[in-house]
């Protein structure tokens, strides 16, 4: 990004026009205009597209390398370790060393693998991973394509990843891989519903399906959506981390159960590509959470002074840290638990908030309520509703096994077999140690 900004200003000054570095769109306009002077216009649009793609890749690539380092370092800190600190200053070059190692490793393929389908996924998985970046607005007009169905595009493209994962898992001809693939498919189909519903809340309330439109709505109304629809934000966060296969929902590559899930059989750089795309998706999903719920490139007027994409990156970093945090902290849920959490908790909750958003939107539009007064009231109401819903869920959803507390008693003088066990169990005084339960 920064290289581009520098290039823009240099080009701008040489051409005698000032191109604002805050808006990278100016660069594209500059290039297309320049090519249109001497060449056909289709060439201009193709070159602009290629440059945009290269720009995105040029940002993603180095960012990924830094992200690997950041993630490892942060997780190491959670675990009271140092983390990588040998290669390069502060271990910064560790990801490069890892990448070199991965590239040099032998690329193995199982003999019984379905060769064509086995070789395709590491490449194919890049396609949605890169396409998603196309609709991310880095600034007021700064996205590769500001589609008016941007939200749908985002969902559609992210939904195709699952097919690639299935191809990888199935073609490996490995039971772990197949299990991982099937789990990934079931998960991603389930968690797409709360994801869609959470975004539907925003679409209904802001009245636009364009991603930039949603940011602009937040800017216009001076409010960020996490305050208005906190439950949707939480549901989206959880659903996204489930789709990204990160703990507590990393069942499709659950190390302790199915080794590495769908990419068990991939070695060398093929595995590296899966890993890179996973990290890249984590980053882009953080960026989208920041965009949808934290106001994206906008921050109460600060975007007038700071380049908008820096604001977006800062917010993205915050969300990304949250994702690392959950990963470093939480154990993994079981497949059926994740499924029932999705269908019994997230879907009803997000559905409720779609209705709430619909009612509130009607109040704003048809009843003509004043937004400056109505929005704070709605925010307070929705936050209260969210807390109520979460508490209700915590109360209602507990399975019977979790309702009784787990107790540890001290045996005292009774030592022996079943009779002693019964005596200890029949003691009426409070157990020494009690945890959980309602």
């Amino acid at each position: 990004m920064t290289d581009f900004a520098g290039l823009t200003s240099v080009l701008g000054s040489t051409l005698g026009a000032w191109y604002d570095f805050r808006d990278l769109n100016n660069l594209q306009r500059l290039i297309t205009e320049w090519i249109a002077d001497w060449g056909p216009d289709w060439l201009a649009s193709i070159i602009a597209g290629v440059l945009g793609t290269l720009g995105i890749l040029g940002v993603i690539g180095p960012t990924l390398l830094i992200l690997i380092w950041v993630e490892r370092k942060v997780i190491a800190r959670f675990q009271q370790r140092y983390g990588p600190n040998r290669v390069g200053p502060k271990g910064l070059l560790q990801p490069v060393a890892d990448a070199v190692k991965l590239i040099l490793k032998e690329q193995l393929a199982p003999r019984a693998a379905d060769k064509l389908i086995f070789f395709l996924p590491p490449v194919l998985i890049f396609v949605p991973g890169v396409l998603i970046w196309g609709v991310l607005p880095f600034g007021p007009r700064m996205s590769v394509a500001d589609l008016n169905v941007g939200v749908l595009f985002l969902l559609a493209v992210s939904g195709t990843t699952v097919l690639v994962i299935f191809m990888a898992g199935w073609s490996s001809n490995n039971k772990y891989a197949l299990f991982g693939a099937m789990r990934a498919v079931a998960m991603s189909i389930s968690y797409e519903v709360p994801m869609v519903l959470a975004l539907l809340t925003l679409v209904v309330f802001s009245g636009t399906m364009s991603i930039n439109g949603i940011v602009e709505w937040q800017q216009q109304e001076d409010v960020i959506f996490i305050l208005l629809f906190p439950l949707s934000a939480i549901a989206f966060f959880f659903a996204a981390s489930a789709e990204l296969n990160r703990t507590p929902a990393d069942i499709s590559e659950a190390e302790s159960e199915i080794v590495a899930g769908y990419h068990t059989e991939y070695s060398g750089m093929r595995f590296g590509l899966f890993y890179a795309v996973e990290l890249g998706n984590t980053l882009v999903v953080s960026a989208f959470i920041a965009t949808f719920f934290l106001g994206g490139w906008w921050l109460w007027g600060l975007d007038q002074w700071v380049p908008s994409w820096i604001i977006l990156l800062a917010k993205t970093g915050a969300v990304y840290f949250l994702l690392i945090w959950t990963r470093g902290t939480l154990p993994r849920l079981r497949v059926d638990q994740l499924m029932s959490f999705c269908w019994k908790a997230l879907v009803p909750a997000t559905l409720l908030f779609v209705v709430v958003a619909f009612v509130e939107r009607t109040l704003l539009i048809s009843e003509g309520w004043d937004t400056t007064v109505a929005l704070p009231i709605m925010a307070v109401f929705n936050i209260a509703l969210t807390l109520g819903a979460i508490m209700l869920f915590a109360r209602v959803s507990r399975p019977a096994a979790l309702r009784r507390p787990a107790r540890i008693r001290m045996a005292g003088t009774e030592i022996g077999g079943l009779r002693a066990a019964r005596q200890v169990a029949s003691r009426t005084e409070e157990p020494q140690f009690q945890v959980g339960g309602d």
Partner: protein
């Protein structure tokens, strides 16, 4: 869009669509067939884009690629390996080919020979909004019927694919018997440990 770009897009997408469809016909493995189907459908989605129908294109990717194909793969995975063979054709392939050729000739003839009076107006903008509005204004009845249909499909699919509890119990007990063999002597005479029921284990 300029002519060259448009031509390039149309012909490559057409090749992708028809190529994918033909590969379904000749692929021997059902899973390959589904993956070719995905390619074909992505081609169709691209063609929608060349027709300036971006909403439909995105919906196509969302439903067909993201959902229907995945569902098909799921169903294929649930049938045993022997049933994943796509190479077998019906014995009535000859007459079927004849019928298809007749259909092809007639449709192509209609398509080419008719004067459609095509007008090339500016494409619709904000299609999502327009479609949404017309769905709940002009087409509210079909929309509701569609909703009912989907609900019926939901219930129907579950009712069909669900196994009756009785069947499941019989199946489980037969499996258990299979696993235990004829070990009739239970070495320990104790009450069974409480195995959490589904409701408890779930969630």
């Amino acid at each position: 869009m300029s002519d060259f770009g448009f031509h390039l897009a149309f012909w490559s997408l057409a090749a992708m669509t028809l190529g994918g469809a033909s590969m379904i016909m000749i692929s021997r493995n059902l899973i390959h067939a589904v993956i070719w189907l995905v390619m074909s459908m992505l081609g169709v989605a691209g063609l929608y884009l060349t027709l300036s129908a971006d909403f439909i294109a995105v919906v196509q990717v969302l439903i067909y690629v993201g959902a229907i194909s995945v569902l098909m793969l799921f169903a294929i995975m649930l049938t045993p390996r022997a049933e994943r063979d796509n190479s077998q054709n019906m014995k009535t392939g000859g007459p079927a080919a004849l019928v298809v050729i007749l259909v092809m000739i007639s449709t192509l003839w209609v398509a080419i020979d008719t004067d459609w009076g095509a007008v090339r107006e500016a494409a619709l903008t904000e299609q999502a909004r327009l479609i949404g509005e017309s769905l709940i204004k002009h087409y509210i009845l079909p929309f509701e019927i569609g909703a009912v249909l989907l609900t019926a499909a939901l219930v129907g699919a579950i009712a069909l694919a669900r196994q009756d509890d009785e069947d499941a119990a019989v199946h489980a007990s037969s499996l258990q018997a299979e696993l235990e063999g004829d070990a009739s002597v239970d070495p320990v005479d104790v009450v069974d440990p409480p195995i959490p029921s589904d409701g408890e284990a779930g969630s």
